[in-house]
Symmetry: C2
Subunit: 188 residues, 2 copies
């Protein structure tokens, strides 16, 4: 069995390429454990949250929105970036994003999982929460002013069809639908 | 119900930030559908494949490797980037990566799903395949020379424990384990 030192790639030199609002990009020269060097392209991100909101009618609330990198309108679970001040408390981000994007708050927000989305080049981590016991907020926090969102409520079957037809097409939302299906098997 | 034009963000100007071997980075000025403009940070990637290899003993083959963006050694399903020449045939990439990383080929490679990993800033798409009927290759294609890999075979319970203890921590591998669990429910 190999040890950590047999795997580790130590940074020899790090070059800053770009510092943005959402991502920072670096190019590293690394020393390979078996000798020699290589380049590593790195995208650093503060992480985000995804929320699986299930209504009392057993529907999942999803958000339709435009994603510029895909040039497509897609259906996703509510999600958002962690603000620097919220770094240690992703649950706060989850509560805030749920309210901003759906107009609901949850009296039962449960941590499910955390996952790196693209570990080959990025450290972006997503914290996923299940939100039940949803309560409509009278005067919800406004949505981000540069986002156009449309809300949908889907049954499990509708969500699975949306994966088949491609309107649901991102990893966190596919995770959410599979998680929901597993939950129904486990609850019998 | 909103239409595509109510969501669309048209590019006014695109600025090239970085052209790498794995990613290209751009900064767009976009026209918002409700008026005004915004910046969009974009990472373009050629996409990749992930393979869920299940042995005849009903174990999943995983690969331990160092991920520079995380500065961590993690367990993942075999995966790899699509080469430009393989763009239209991700199944070829899947066969190649399975052999390179595990020394097995599959007589039964089945397309499962495709998913965008981080649609907020990146167009990276992952094609996922289930690989069964595995056959040990006599002289497998060599691994990439800048990768150190160690192979493991995990039962479903071991894989679920590895998610709990954080040694499995990326979206595609968590997807794979959930997919495997669902498969067992469906097969009774």
């Amino acid at each position: 069995m190999l040890e950590y030192k047999d795997f580790e790639e130590k940074t020899i030199e790090r070059t800053e390429i770009f510092k943005g609002k959402i991502i920072d990009v670096y190019l590293d020269d690394v020393a390979l454990p078996m000798g020699g060097t290589a380049k590593r392209e790195l995208v650093f991100h503060h992480g985000g949250v995804g929320i699986i909101p299930i209504t009392s009618e057993n529907k999942m609330i999803m958000v339709k929105q435009f994603r510029k990198p895909l040039e497509k309108v897609v259906l996703e679970i509510p999600a958002g970036k962690i603000d620097p001040g919220e770094g240690q408390q992703p649950e706060k981000t989850a509560s805030r994003e749920l309210e901003e994007e759906t107009g609901y708050r949850s009296d039962n927000l449960k941590y499910i999982n955390e996952m790196y989305l693209s570990p080959g080049f990025s450290n972006e981590k997503l914290y996923v929460y299940l939100a039940t016991d949803l309560v409509k907020v009278e005067h919800p926090r406004p949505q981000d002013e540069d986002e156009v969102l449309e809300l949908y409520e889907l049954t499990l079957t509708e969500a699975q069809q949306a994966i088949q037809d491609g309107s649901i097409c991102d990893a966190k939302t596919i995770f959410a639908v599979n998680y929901w299906e597993l939950l129904q098997y486990k609850q019998g």
